[in-house]
Amino acid sequence: MASTTTPLIQVKNLHLYFGAFHALKDVSVDFRAGELIGLVGDNGAGKTTLIRVLCGIHTPSSGEVWFDGRKVEKFHPKLAIDEGIETIQQSVGLCDNLSIARNFYLGREPVKRILGIPILDFALMREKSTKVIREFGLRDNVSADDEVERLSGGERQSVKIGRAVEFKNRVVIMDEPTNHLSVREREHVNELAVSLKEQGLLVIYITHDIFQVHKLADRIVIMENGEKIEDASTHTMSAEALEEVIRQGGRKVTKKEPV
């Protein structure tokens, strides 16, 4: 892959404390455009905390984050969104009461000036979102004017992923994207994740399920107890070997002195 280019996101010796709690311990990791990275670890391993730093929700206590060759000085969710970093979560992101087209552009609605008053550009909203929902495999009888309430769980994820592509995001972080989905819907979402990567985006895929993500990912990063304990290409390490690392990691930690 594009491993020779400069990484899109570089995390260098990141530490994060919540009061006395050491949430991230000296984490260093590179993420490149066009990669699909599986971020794996148990609950409380620090993967969500790491992601929240990348999304600008937490500011690191020490260490550096570089984005696209520039050092990140200010951490704020709005800045992350403006830079094209998007998180796709299971339960959040779409408003049931609004149409697909309205949801699609929520927060950055296109407007046309009529008599100097900025009025929503409904034609553009409808046209673009219709194109995307067709591309991303929603049922034929669903139109962009339908409320999101009508959609199944997989279709909702498809809309969110389609939205991320449409807004030319550079980083898509998928937080447990296939929870509560049927087998077929899970496959569809995973296919979409791979296609995002093939379009040159950086995809960070967070999950517990090492076997599922191993099939998709180029690289697996394993977190444990706030530390990165493994960072390996899926070509060099099998899913079984990685699973063993997670087990070992757990044991190694329990042998340490209690925190």
């Binding site: 339960s91 408003c95 049931d96 009461n97 609004l98 309205r102 929520l106 929503l120």
Partner: protein, 318 residues
Amino acid sequence: MKQFVRSQSFGAVIGVTVMLIAFTVIDFSGWWNRSTLANVVQFSAILGLVAMGQALVIMTKEIDLSVGSVYGLTGVAFITLEPKLGVPGSTLAALAIAAAIGAFQGLVVVRGKLPSMIVTLAGLFAARGVIYVWTGGTVQNFSEAARNNWLTGLLGGQIFGIEAAIFWMVGLCLVLNVLLWGTRYGNRLLATGGSLDSAESRGVRTDHVKILAFMLCSLLAGFAGILTLADRPQTHVTLGDLMELEAIASAVIGGCLLTGGRGSLVGAVLGAFIIVSFRYELIALGAPSSWFTTFVGIVLIVAVIFNQYLARRAGHSV
């Protein structure tokens, strides 16, 4: 047609139709005459303005109990400040007071993370208290000059033989509908009420959205108070008493769901029309005026159950 049946105001349209048929059938004392209708429509317009503001707040999944007091206080300010500021000046000052109350309540709800029911309940008491303290219970009146001011006429007089309040309501209803359904703010307001977390994840400043909704609500309630007093320039301390209940009832009859994100401004106006019509029909039937309150309560409960049923049929989870 299907769109219309699924819309939030469908229930209110049915309600108005049924009501008009019923009133025509049991018409003992001439409900269908010009003077009754003119009165009904004028007071529907005034309650409709308050109800539209309430509807906006309900659509953000909050509630504003203070509208009755704000209506009264703004009206009192309009009359009391007139000798010093003139009619245009006192109109602006009164509206500024209303906007400030709305902004303050919104700010406390959003920043203090307190339930809007408690904050606006306190606003109800405080604004009513200011009315008592300010007027000392006395009745204030417009001078002859103020009554004849062009703006007083524009706000409370008649235009082409029709009460000015009706024009104001229709105009504001149009503006607010465009604001709600056709602008960025409207889209974000609906999103805030529908799912606060999702709206925030898209970068929507839900706190700003809510504060602005509270301000619009107070402004509309205050403006309705000004329209009332421009027509009959005489203050009394109970001005707007219990109006919050009528406004909430109008909004709910008009199809606003308390679960947020769904509602109709036209429905809220129709709801106000239903409530005011009931008042006049009861008077026409010779019932004691107190029965009106009872009837509004019954209509409210029936309407909310009916709207709930319609919403479930349309496939909404409520």
